[in-house]
């Protein structure tokens, strides 16, 4: 690279070996989060933020799981009276809301936050403070909605919150107001997080990591993030309009005044269906990257899988009406969305056969992570084909709103999200902590979860085919559902034991696990080239990438477009927090990025926004005013130009 390529900056970076004396210490000094409360609240380290995301999302998984176990007891037999209808309604709504919004998306954001800079060869995410903001708002919105629930004002209209039942006339309490505001707040978190992923994907890849050398996890997350940027506004708008209807007397959904209940459903599902893909594509990416490690070969059909990921998302924007087949829309429109909903199976089939071929032509290594990933293929297929069935309009007129759809959504969300996540924990926990998870306990963990899950959720397909409606707090006997529900409840508890074993393994191994070393699985990607856990700066020097599997180079003949990666040395970048930005397609180095220090602005902004939303929810307008004023002041401080970030003046050339 020449000085001309860095013309906007004062220098061309020096090149040195990663082992250059003093370099590691100097970088550590620059990048390490300072100890103490300021460091805890102000850190912008993507690894800390990533772990916080994972731990918080897991806590919500447990909360949502406990809610489900409680109402599964209510449904274990006919005519049980463990819960009142209102309790049941709040519990099932909290369960759905928690799992879909507070667990499934954020857990994947956590993995991607932690792993992206490491797999892409960067020192942090592109927008570190935005990253911190994204986490803090997520945490605040979760607490916001749970606080309402604990005060007895949990949402009670299901996670998709249909109007008019969500309107003031039928739902008088503040329950729906808190839900609406909480989701809008969370939407801000998801949006800024998504923007961060897209920018990082486009500009922060190591030199040489052209588009065809990016790990599939990054493809999955960037695809999901791009989708979120388009999808979130629809749901935020819907909830905002609903809040206006409920609090300021507007009539967007108010039928007597000409409002339209179906407007809600369109806005919600324009978001809702892409969101389903957003919370599975990164998980599929984790499998596409993790499975080949345990098959001892690169993924079969990399290009097809990457393109399939993007294609799924594009098609995913054209299928939302399949949630609305029974709303009386014209047949011509139903036909279009029906065909699209069936066609969307094709790119998923690409991935399924790529994974199978990878195992079949590889040499499987039986680890717990491998078992989670391999079993996921079957669960993915079950969730996929039940989705295909609901894509067929006349069949969906029967299936919709029965337990068949409950079975489907759980095979999608547990099969395609929780199982890959469990596998990913076994796979990457050594990187996160430097300790191995226990493989023996891992087997117990896997089999308990696998058996419990299928025992609990497969019978739901049958209770659905036998006509059991969703969202009923009880059912009479003589409907043919008694035994199926008993089995489902039993299976749910077995599954919960499986999740408990995972937690036990994490806690025990975190203390006493075997040392992992940098690359315990002999895996091929960049994150395994650095120590476990990685140093605060990730890479002492910026690596240069020549293939999709830099750590496996030399083990088999290179293909035409592959060259040798250079990890042992590279750009030093040690004048302040710095990393390199590269061009979007070919990843040619273009500028040195000045990265921000730790900052309290993100957490203050999150708290101020939360105060603003709490004020709106409680109709305490003074609190809302203070909150929004604090937001303004905080943004002013945050955006004040800093010399260390090169924001005050253009450095002189040459």
């Amino acid at each position: 690279m020449t000085a001309a390529e860095f013309e906007r900056y004062e220098r061309a970076p020096t090149i040195a070996p990663a082992t250059k004396p003093g370099l590691a210490e100097a970088l550590k000094q620059l990048w390490e989060t300072e100890p103490g409360i300021k460091g805890i609240l102000g850190t912008v380290d993507h690894k800390k933020i990533g772990l916080r995301y994972i731990v918080t999302a897991f806590a919500f998984l447990i909360a949502g799981g406990v809610e489900a176990l409680i109402f599964r007891l209510q449904l274990a037999g006919p005519n049980l009276k463990l819960l009142t209808p209102e309790q049941y309604d709040q519990l099932f709504t909290m369960h759905g809301m928690t799992m879909i919004f507070l667990y499934a998306g954020p857990i994947l954001s956590g993995f991607s936050n932690y792993l992206w800079p490491l797999i892409l060869g960067a020192r942090d995410m592109a927008l570190p403070r935005l990253n911190a903001l994204s986490y803090w708002i997520y945490l605040c919105s979760g607490i916001f909605m749970y606080a309402a629930f604990l005060f007895g004002f949990g949402p009670n209209d299901g996670w998709f919150n249909y109007v008019p039942y969500a309107a003031r006339a039928y739902n008088g309490g503040p329950n729906i107001d808190f839900y609406a505001l909480g989701i809008i707040l969370l939407g801000i978190s998801t949006t800024v997080g998504s923007i961060n992923f897209v920018v990082t994907f486009l500009r922060l890849r190591a030199p040489g990591m052209s588009l065809n050398r990016i790990p599939i996890l990054a493809w999955g997350t960037v695809t999901a993030s791009a989708a979120n940027i388009f999808a979130i506004p629809a749901v935020s708008l819907a909830f905002f309009l609903l809040w206006l209807d409920r609090n300021l007397g507007t009539h967007f959904f108010d039928v007597p005044a000409g409002g339209q209940p179906l407007l809600w459903q369109h806005l919600f599902w324009m978001f809702g269906h892409p969101w389903v893909y957003a919370i599975v594509l990164p998980a599929m990416g984790m499998v596409s990257d993790g499975l080949p490690v345990f098959c001892r070969r690169p993924l079969v059909g990399y290009t097809a899988v990457a393109l399939g990921t993007v294609a799924t998302m594009v098609l995913g924007f054209g299928v939302w009406v399949h949630h609305m087949f029974a709303t009386g829309l014209p047949s011509i429109s139903l036909s279009f969305f029906s065909a699209a909903s069936i066609i969307i199976v094709v790119p998923s089939a690409v991935a399924v056969f790529a994974w199978i071929a990878t195992i079949w032509t590889g040499k499987p290594v039986f680890t717990t992570a491998f078992m989670f990933f391999a079993s996921f293929i079957v669960l993915f297929t079950i969730g996929g084909v039940s989705g295909f069935m609901t894509g067929s309009v006349p069949v969906d007129w029967q299936l919709t709103d029965t337990y068949f759809v409950v079975a489907h959504i759980h095979y999608v969300l547990i099969g395609i999200n929780v199982f890959p996540v469990a596998g990913a924990i076994y796979f990457w926990f050594p990187k996160f902590t430097g300790k191995m998870l226990d493989e023996r306990l891992g087997r117990w963990n896997f089999w308990t979860m696998f058996v419990g899950f299928n025992l609990g959720f497969f019978p739901m397909h049958i209770s659905g085919l036998l006509g059991m409606p969703r969202r009923i707090y009880t059912y009479p006997d003589g409907m043919g559902w008694d035994w199926l529900n008993l089995i489902t409840t039993f299976g749910a508890f077995v599954f919960a034991v499986g999740v408990l074993l995972l937690i036990i393994n994490i806690v025990v191994s975190h203390r006493r696990g075997a040392a992992a070393g940098a690359n315990p699985w002999d895996a091929p990607t960049l994150e395994w080239s650095v120590s476990s856990p990685p140093p605060p700066y990730n890479f002492a020097v910026i690596p240069t990438i020549g293939s999709r599997h830099p750590l496996w180079e030399g083990r088999f003949p290179p293909e035409a477009d592959e060259s040798r990666s250079y990890i042992e040395g590279g750009m030093v970048l040690d004048r302040g927090r710095e990393t390199i930005a590269t061009s979007a397609l070919d990843a040619q180095p273009s500028v040195i990025l000045k990265m921000p220090e730790d900052s309290l602005s993100p957490i203050v902004l999150a708290l101020a926004l939360t105060a603003f939303f709490a004020g709106l929810g409680l109709n305490w307008w003074w609190l809302a005013a203070i909150g929004i004023a604090a937001v303004g002041i905080d943004l002013f401080v945050w955006l004040w130009p800093e010399p260390s970030l090169g924001e005050t003046a253009e450095p002189a050339n040459g």
Binding site: P164, A326, S338, I342, V345, I377, V385, G478, W483
Partner: protein, 349 residues
């Protein structure tokens, strides 16, 4: 109480394919599954049932094939054992593999295409009935019961009832679906799939029953506290029996000579009449179900309880115990008044 030529509960109690499907899971006592849709009982249901079985079989076949392929892939050669962290393992890049994707996706696409064509054919088949419907039934979904009105050109023959829909066999019938408050969904699985009742718009559907029978229906769009207890009954009768039923529904209660019934009629008008109607009497409320000819119905409280005197007493004296959150409040009645009202209701044949 009126009796019809169809044996009550014909379809409720008949084990069938659903039961066979269920056999490994359920003892024989639980075979009845009145809301199943694996069996159809009319012109609209038949092609959909066939398609449902078709896609279910395709789905099951795909699951079995993929499960076998994954198992085969795992076990067709001895897996390597993971020895110790950091241990180098043999790694290679065999060239074959891509053909799996093209073969797999190619075959899947053919099956999907077939499913799309079949779906479109069935969709076209069931979009409209093959012959014109002789009349229209208007169904309004309300929290948590169904208002039913039989429409006719002759306004003298229009009448309202609730939660139990009688239809003649062998003819397609048009349903006009209205959302009375929040969204509900009209569903009689043995005869037709779901169509939502949405406030602010009028949806239409149709159904037909081949044979006489009692078919259970259910609200399937979550609509609040008592969504679980928003059922209905569809009673298919021969055209003659159906005409007799309609004629009978138009009649007002006969004058009574029974003192208890007469007292009950007054008590009913006073305590219940602001919500409920009994045609031809002072009771003309519109908030709750029309109770004219209540004794001809099989169930009460939207198919929540069988219509027996004991259940009527239970429902009237403790509505919130039967359906917590329902809009029916416990009336302030002495036991004497309750007995009178019961006697009166029992006279509404």
């Amino acid at each position: 109480m009126l009796r019809f030529d169809s044996p009550k509960g014909l379809c409720l109690l008949r084990p069938g394919a659903a039961a066979i499907f269920l056999a490994p899971f359920a003892p024989s006592a639980a075979f009845a599954a009145p809301l199943n849709y694996l069996l159809g009982h009319g012109d609209k249901a038949y092609p959909v049932v066939a398609l449902t079985w078709g896609v279910t079989i395709i789905a099951a076949a795909v699951i079995v094939i993929i499960a076998l392929l994954v198992s085969g892939a795992i076990w067709h050669r001895r897996g390597l054992a993971f020895e110790a962290p950091g241990h180098l393992l043999e790694t290679s890049r065999p060239g074959r593999g891509a053909s799996w994707i093209w073969m797999g996706v190619g075959l899947s696409s053919l099956v999907l295409l077939f499913a799309i064509v079949w779906t479109m054919r069935v969709l076209a088949q069931v979009a409209y009935p093959s012959s014109a419907a002789p009349f229209t039934i208007e169904v309004t979904g309300k929290q948590w019961w169904w208002q039913v009105r039989y429409l006719a050109d002759d306004t003298a023959r229009v009448f309202a009832t609730a939660n139990e829909i009688h239809i003649p066999t062998g003819v397609p019938l048009k349903f006009k679906l209205i959302g009375g408050d929040v969204i509900h969904s009209f569903w009689v699985p043995a005869l037709s799939g779901k169509t939502d009742t949405i406030p602010g718009q009028t949806n239409e559907t149709w159904l037909e029953a081949k044979r006489p029978g009692v078919y259970r229906g259910q609200c399937t769009e979550y609509c609040g506290l008592q969504h679980a207890h928003m059922g209905m009954m569809v009673v298919a009768q021969t055209p003659q029996a159906f005409r007799a039923w309609w004629d009978h529904q138009l009649q007002s209660p006969a004058p009574t000579t029974n003192g208890q019934v007469a007292a009950g009629r007054i008590d009913f008008a006073m305590h219940c009449g602001s919500c409920h109607t009994v045609r031809g009497t002072e009771a003309s409320g519109i908030l709750g179900p029309d109770l004219s000819h209540l004794m001809t119905r099989r169930t009460i409280a939207a198919a929540t309880l069988p219509n027996t005197p004991a259940n009527l007493v239970r429902w009237i004296s403790d509505p919130q115990g039967v359906k917590p959150g329902a809009f029916m409040q416990k009336p302030e009645l002495t036991s004497h008044e309750l007995a009178d009202i019961l006697a009166y209701l029992k006279s509404l044949k």
